[in-house]
Structure formats: structure tokens, C-alpha cells
């Protein structure tokens, strides 16, 4: 058993490295995502102006920007395989769960990079009040995990349908609304000096449930 576990850990790691490498060679996914995030951020901050004393608006705008950036870019992990007709090769060397886990880790890393650029820029451009880092990062991290888990699963489903681009956002967004709601509520609480425990618990439960259920389901995604 330890052998099987370590060999699938190796496979997951290999998938993750392969994803990072192929992303790094072209960078078109990352470039597009960062560009999209910055342009939507510009649109938002330009339209709303500086809002130093409106924590409620800031929290909503921050999460909407993050959600849109994720939805615009995160389907490509699987769609790329379908379009390049490489999924079959990938499946020869790893089990569906290993592929999905590798892609999930890649999506988390991808989102972290996008957020590392977007979030500081957002805080500067909107003139947001100083954040309390531990609760802020907790809420942001759990939200990122949920975003990545749902995008990975929906991306894998969407890659097999006809209208990939439009459908990905349409199908992901409803699943992510609970994340948006508790993310906004937690971020606002963090600015208002309130406890974020309830929101963080809800986010954590949702993230764990999404990751757990999707890991059980990946074996059924490809069978032909």
C-alpha cells in the first residue's frame, strides 16, 4: 500500500510539473488571466473610484474581480488537453484521479499567482483600509481552494461538451455562488473588525466537500 500511495504521489507530482512546464513554455493561459484580471480590476476601480470607507463594497468588488479572473481562465487545464488531443496519452500514464489531482494543484498555484498580482493592486487602487492579514488570508485561501476544486471538476466535464467557453462560466458560477457569498461576508467582517470564524468554517466545509466528492467522481469522467 505505501508503494501504491507513493507511486501515485509521484504521478501527481509529475502531472503538476508537466502542467507548470507547459504553461511556462507558452504562458498564454497565465498572460491572458493576468491581463483579464488587471483589465477587469481597472474597469471596477475606474467605475467605482476610491472607496476607503466602504468595506462592504470593497469586499464585493474584490471577490467579483477574483471570480471573473478565475472563470475567464481556469477551464484551459482540461480544454487544452482536448484541443491538443493529448488527453489519451495522459491517461495512459496516470489514473484519472491522479490527473485530476495534479491539475487541481496546478489550478491552485495558478490562482495564487493571479491573486498575488491582483489583490495588492486592488488594495492600492481602491485605497482600501489596512487588512488584518491572518483572517484575510484564511478567507482568501479557502476561497481559492474552493474556486480551484470546482473549476477543475467543471473544466473536466466541460472539455467533453460542445460549447466549452460559454458553458464553463455558466455552469461554474452557480456552484461558486456559496463561495462568493461567504467570501464576501468574511472579507467584510475582517475589515469591520468582526470575527470571521463562521464564514471561514463554511468556506472550509464547502472546499473539503467539493474536493472530496470530486476525487470520488473523477474515475467516472472518461470511459470510452
Amino acid at each position: 500500500m505505501p508503494n501504491a500511495a507513493s507511486s501515485s504521489a509521484v504521478a501527481v507530482w509529475a502531472i503538476l510539473r508537466k502542467e507548470c512546464r507547459s504553461e511556462w513554455r507558452t504562458r498564454y493561459g497565465l498572460n491572458a488571466a493576468v491581463l483579464f484580471a488587471i483589465t477587469s480590476l481597472t474597469a471596477v476601480t475606474f467605475a467605482a473610484g476610491r472607496l476607503p470607507d466602504r468595506a462592504d463594497l470593497l469586499a464585493a468588488l474584490l471577490w467579483i474581480t477574483l471570480l471573473f479572473a478565475a472563470l475567464a481562465s481556469m477551464s484551459h487545464a482540461f480544454v487544452r488537453e482536448t484541443e491538443g488531443r493529448t488527453l489519451l496519452f495522459l491517461r495512459l500514464v496516470a489514473s484519472p484521479t491522479e490527473i485530476a489531482l495534479g491539475k487541481l494543484l496546478f489550478n491552485v498555484a495558478f490562482l495564487v499567482v493571479v491573486e498575488a498580482i491582483t489583490v495588492p493592486l486592488f488594495l492600492v487602487l481602491t485605497g482600501a483600509p489596512p487588512v488584518r492579514w491572518p483572517p484575510f488570508l484564511t478567507v482568501l485561501g479557502l476561497g481559492t481552494l474552493s474556486l480551484a476544486a470546482s473549476s477543475t471538476l467543471v473544466g473536466a466535464v466541460i472539455a467533453q461538451t460542445r460549447s466549452r467557453g460559454a458553458l464553463f462560466a455558466g455552469v461554474s458560477l452557480p456552484l461558486l455562488l456559496p463561495v462568493l457569498a461567504s467570501g464576501v461576508s468574511g472579507t467584510r467582517a475582517q475589515w469591520d473588525g468582526m470575527p470571521v470564524a463562521a464564514d471561514a468554517r463554511l468556506l472550509a466545509a464547502y472546499a473539503v466537500a467539493l474536493v472530496g466528492v470530486s476525487l470520488l467522481l473523477y474515475d467516472h469522467l472518461w470511459e470510452d
Binding site: T161, A181, Y206, L210
Partner: protein, 214 residues
């Protein structure tokens, strides 16, 4: 046929008793009566979506088209009853809270459920090939149901809501006037049979469509 007449008479008789004889809850006044439609609709929503999830699991396990028919039919009906619960709740909110829609946690969470299962139907419509459609829809239906229990049962208890289960149901037990309680449970039973009848109809349509296609 006999079932259909039975369900009709059952619901009609309960409705007559509920509207004419059952007393009113003090705070809610005349709007008490919405509970005979609204709560059974919400209840059937959860039952139907759970049935859809269960049949999706069974489909992935056994690969029988019949399971997929059940899962798809239950998701459609769950959406239908969810709309019924949302609309009746909204009308009630207009008379009690003074606005059709004000993003109370209850309203928010039911709206999320609506969108999630609307996405199920959109996804289902865009997949070609019977086996693939059944398989991917089953995967989505199971993931979608992950969101239902938190939305329906957890969110309204964490965030403060004006929804009146604290008024009717202050002690956490079913704490109603006996007459209201009888009508209410009778409606629950009636709606459950109504759902199972509609479900059997929809499954039959799916079966016929499949036979036509092959």
C-alpha cells in the same frame, strides 16, 4: 388513473380544511395559509434533488439508462418545485416584509439552488451522445447536491434571517397548533404523492423518447 384522482381529492380536501377551518398563527395572521403550499414545495425540492443525486450515484454504479431518466426527471421537478417555493415565498415576503425580494439568507440560498440546477439542465442539453450525457450529468448532479444541504439547512441558521421558522417553530420541535399541524402534514403527504406521480410521468416520457431514438 385512480392514483391521480386520489391525489387530487386528497390535496383538495386538505386545502379546504386548511383554508376554512384551521386557525391562524398570531404574528403571521392571514399569511399563515401560505405554509400549506410553500413548505411542502420546499420539502419536495429537497426530496427531488436528493432523489436525483441518489439515482446519479446508482447510474455511475450500474450504468442503467433507467437511473439516468430518474435522475434527470427528478432534477427537472426539483427545479419546478423550487420555483414554486421561491414564488410563493416572494409573494409572502411582499405582504409580510413589504418587498418582493430583499436578499434575506433564505431567499439567497434558494436562489442559488435554482441557479445550480438551472446549470444542470444547460449542461445536460449541451452534451452529445446518450451514454456521455448520462455520465457527465450524473457527475454534475452529485457535485451540485453537495451545495444543497449547506444552502438549505446551514446558511439560514448561521446568518440572521427574518424567515419565520423561529416564530412558528420557536423550540426547535414542531410546535404548531394541532389543526395546523394535521393540515400541514397532510399537505406534505399529498405533495409527496404528487411528486411521485409527476416523476413517473416524466420518466415514462424519457423512456419513450429513448425508444423513438433507437
Amino acid at each position: 388513473m385512480i392514483w391521480r384522482i386520489g391525489i387530487f381529492l386528497w390535496i383538495a380536501a386538505t386545502m379546504a380544511v386548511a383554508l376554512l377551518a384551521a386557525p391562524l398563527v398570531p404574528v403571521l395572521q392571514e399569511t399563515t395559509r401560505v405554509l400549506y403550499f410553500h413548505i411542502p414545495s420546499a420539502w419536495i425540492t429537497v426530496v427531488a434533488l436528493a432523489w436525483s443525486m441518489l439515482n446519479s450515484v446508482l447510474y455511475l454504479w450500474k450504468r442503467e439508462p433507467e437511473r439516468d431518466h430518474h435522475a434527470a426527471a427528478a432534477a427537472e421537478l426539483g427545479l419546478l418545485f423550487c420555483v414554486a417555493a421561491t414564488v410563493s415565498g416572494s409573494i409572502w415576503a411582499k405582504s409580510m416584509w413589504g418587498s418582493w425580494w430583499n436578499w434575506d439568507p433564505r431567499e439567497t440560498s434558494i436562489f442559488f439552488v435554482l441557479l445550480i440546477y438551472g446549470a444542470y439542465l444547460a449542461l445536460r442539453a449541451s452534451i452529445e451522445g446518450e451514454e456521455k450525457r448520462a455520465r457527465l450529468s450524473a457527475v454534475y448532479s452529485i457535485v451540485a447536491f453537495v451545495a444543497v444541504p449547506p444552502l438549505v439547512f446551514v446558511v439560514p441558521r448561521i446568518y440572521s434571517t427574518l424567515h419565520p421558522d423561529p416564530i412558528i417553530n420557536a423550540s426547535g420541535k414542531i410546535d404548531m397548533d394541532p389543526m395546523i399541524r394535521w393540515c400541514f402534514f397532510s399537505m406534505l403527504v399529498g405533495f409527496t404523492f404528487l411528486f411521485s406521480w409527476l416523476q413517473s410521468l416524466r420518466v415514462r416520457v424519457f423512456r419513450l423518447e429513448r425508444r423513438l431514438a433507437t
